[in-house]
């Protein structure tokens, strides 16, 4: 069945979301969330969203959501970005950790953590990369050693290139619990409070101005057994579930790119003197790309509702949105001409977009995943 318009219920949901956003989206827009002060303002916004039950619409009511369908979630995202609302600084918790908690968490973990994520009380960052383990995630050496006496685990090692790590309160990531097992084995997924004794967070600037980009060092950090998500030694499988969320739909809904594309078209209209036919075509094609992403995700959501798992196909999303985002911003900068070098929302967005093909597994890794696991090509020797 194909029906590409909102049902009556979806339309009601859309109207209601739009009305609330129109009344509440901060104007003028919040400062960038990449500074400590800006981040705090964003956290305030997240709490306002939560109070109005718009922070996690697709979650169960008991965790602060609205039990909304995946379609309604897409609708909310469209309205959210079309309304000019701020980027979600809670995204790691809501869109990456939470799906993993729903899949692998114990009831106790879910009941404890999910409401705190929804309410922006806990602010999560990722702890994947290490200095010697970037694309090659299985090469991580940070380790967790069982301390039976203390009744928990002692973590040590270093995580790096952690977005907003300097501003967050918690970190999720992989640690090696069995040093004798091979690369993908012997890993465990831990949930770590950054305030725990032995954790040091050092921020270092990121190209796009994010001052929270951080390196996190663990020296003999004690965490309890409840800090393990999905079972000891099961970390790779749990992490791949997070990665699939990160690459796929949940982190990058079409609403965001549709809104950027619309802003690009508006920019083109407003800069008639700079708009050459060449740039007009580039604007149109970038806009078409955003539409394509929307159609693709709708098709994907339908398949998911019919029981399909995106699995490796999440890599297709990631390849597409990451390149689309760069194209949208590069086109805007061309329209801005010599003014492009000044510090504007578009130039900052461009710098941010360049990270797209790198994080969540480089696009080279994604292409290999697509080739081997979607197309079924023979594995690299």
């Amino acid at each position: 069945m194909i029906d590409l318009v909102d049902t009556a219920e979806e339309a009601r949901f859309r109207t209601s979301a739009r009305a609330w956003l129109r009344a509440n989206v901060p104007s003028p827009p919040l400062p960038s969330g990449d500074t400590r002060e800006g981040f705090a303002r964003h956290v305030e916004w997240e709490r306002r969203l939560f109070d109005a039950r718009w922070s996690v619409v697709s979650w169960p009511e008991r965790y602060g959501g609205r039990d909304a369908s995946l379609w309604e979630w897409l609708v909310f995202e469209e309205e959210y970005y079309a309304g000019g609302a701020p980027q979600r600084v809670t995204q790691n918790g809501i869109f990456l950790l939470a799906p993993t908690l729903y899949e692998f968490g114990t009831p106790a973990q879910q009941d404890h953590l999910l409401p705190r994520i929804a309410a922006a009380e806990d602010l999560w960052c990722q702890g994947w990369s290490e200095p010697e383990a970037g694309s090659d995630l299985a090469a991580i050496t940070s380790r967790a050693v069982r301390d039976d006496a203390a009744g928990g685990w002692r973590l040590s090692g270093q995580k790096t290139w952690t977005t907003r790590g300097a501003f967050c309160t918690h970190l999720f990531g992989l640690f090696r619990t069995d040093p004798t097992a091979g690369r993908h084995r012997g890993l465990t997924y831990f949930l770590v409070p950054l305030g725990a004794p032995g954790v040091t967070v050092r921020g270092f600037g990121r190209l796009d101005g994010d001052e929270g980009f951080a390196e996190v060092t663990f020296v003999d950090v004690l965490v309890p057994d409840e800090a393990v998500l999905g079972g000891v030694g099961n970390g790779w499988r749990v992490a791949m579930s997070t990665a699939s969320s990160e690459r796929g739909l949940s982190l990058r809904s079409p609403g965001r790119f549709l809104a950027t594309a619309d802003r690009l078209v508006a920019l083109a209209r407003s800069r008639a003197e700079a708009l050459s036919p060449r740039l007009r075509d580039r604007v149109i094609r970038a806009w078409v790309g955003a539409q394509a992403y929307q159609m693709f995700t709708r098709h994907q959501v339908s398949a998911m509702l019919d029981g399909a798992q995106p699995g490796a196909r999440a890599s297709l999303n990631k390849l597409f949105w990451s390149e689309l985002d760069i194209e949208l911003h590069e086109t805007a900068l061309e329209l801005l001409g010599a003014e492009a070098e000044t510090d504007t929302a578009w130039s900052r967005g461009f710098l941010f977009s360049l990270a797209g093909p790198i994080y969540a597994g480089t696009n080279e890794i994604q292409r290999t995943i697509v080739a081997e696991r979607v197309l079924g090509l023979p594995r690299a020797p």
Binding site: M1, D3, L4, D6, V288, S302
Partner: protein
């Protein structure tokens, strides 16, 4: 909201796919290349008629299956996948529903449904793909739709030898309708049919290439295990995967006569055209020399891709989208 094929659509698509796999293998496409085997090609047309396909988009009360444009997309994708060397898309998706909608003043519809009348569509100038095989030609120009019998026929040598193209002299009478909405609908259906076939052609070339690079060994390994080949094919797949939903959505927009239908068709054509062209180039490059021989099948599909893509009218679609986005129309000052 909902966006997937239903069971009937899947069943019909699969029936067409199975039938074409059997009746329109590469050998049949080759049979359409001169001098070829016209009888074999004609038999395929009859097989398609027996399935009722030429009435797919004709209302039930006119003797058809009563399907809409949404349903046609998967069928036309299969027609592209098989590179059927006949004006199936033209007859099924454009001419037949037009005849039905206009009351069939020339009395052509029964022959179309029975598989005894083939309809081609006139391209640019006097060039008519499948003109050598067509009993009738649909001309969509100057705000009119005309269906005419050609006066004279001259064969044209084309890159894709299975297109049976001709230069035709056509009478100027024969107007079936000048209702602008209906004429636009014909143009949109033709564009949609092209986009859907390009998707299918892209899939065919992808399948051929994935199969080949998985077995062809060089440097002691299958060439499909090298990143250069893997990543190029991943990118080609990406194009096809992101074009497909757009084409299906354009079919739905046409079927429901939405306000954005013409721009949805343009989006579909641009995405499918780019994806199929990229796939053709990728397929040839990943095959290497064997893909460059006419003994191997790839060229049958690549050449059809180029032929269809050449008829896409990229600039007119960009202009249509520009108008929809309130951006200026193309051209020169």
């Amino acid at each position: 909201m909902r966006f997937c094929l239903d069971a009937d659509q899947v069943a019909l698509r699969d029936a067409v796919r199975d039938m074409l796999a059997l009746e329109c293998p590469p050998a049949l496409v080759r049979a359409a290349w001169p001098p070829g085997d016209p009888a074999a090609v004609a038999a395929l047309w009859r097989d398609l008629a027996r399935m009722g396909l030429f009435g797919a988009a004709v209302p039930i009360h006119c003797g058809g299956l009563g399907l809409g444009e949404t349903d046609l997309v998967p069928i036309l994708t299969e027609v592209g996948y098989a590179a059927v060397p006949l004006p199936v898309a033209e007859t099924m998706a454009v001419a037949a529903p037009l005849l039905a909608a206009t009351g069939d003043p020339g009395g052509y519809l029964p022959g179309v449904l029975a598989g005894t009348t083939r309809v081609a569509i006139a391209g640019a100038g006097d060039l008519v793909p499948y003109g050598m095989l067509a009993d009738l030609v649909l001309v969509l120009r100057d705000g009119r739709a005309r269906i005419v019998e050609p006066l004279t026929t001259a064969v044209v040598s084309t890159v894709d030898g299975s297109r049976a193209a001709a230069r035709l002299a056509l009478p100027s009478a024969g107007t079936v309708t000048d209702d602008p909405e209906l004429v636009d609908l014909c143009l949109d259906r033709a564009d949609l049919a092209t986009a859907a076939q390009l998707l299918g052609l892209g899939r065919r070339m992808l399948d051929l290439t994935v199969g080949y690079v998985g077995t062809r060994r060089q440097f002691g390994a299958p060439i499909g295990s090298f990143q250069a080949v893997q990543h190029r094919l991943a990118d080609a797949l990406l194009g096809l995967e992101f074009a497909m939903p757009a084409v299906l959505a354009a079919g739905w927009a046409l079927a429901h006569r939405t306000g954005s239908r013409r721009q949805d068709v343009s989006i579909a054509v641009l995405l499918a055209g780019d994806a199929a062209r990229t796939m053709a180039k990728t397929a040839i490059q990943c095959h290497g020399a064997i893909g460059y021989t006419v003994e191997y099948d790839l060229h049958l599909y690549a050449k059809r891709t180029w032929a269809l893509a050449a008829s896409c009218g990229t600039d007119s679609h960009l202009d249509r989208l520009a108008a929809a986005l309130d951006l200026p129309k193309g051209g020169f000052p």
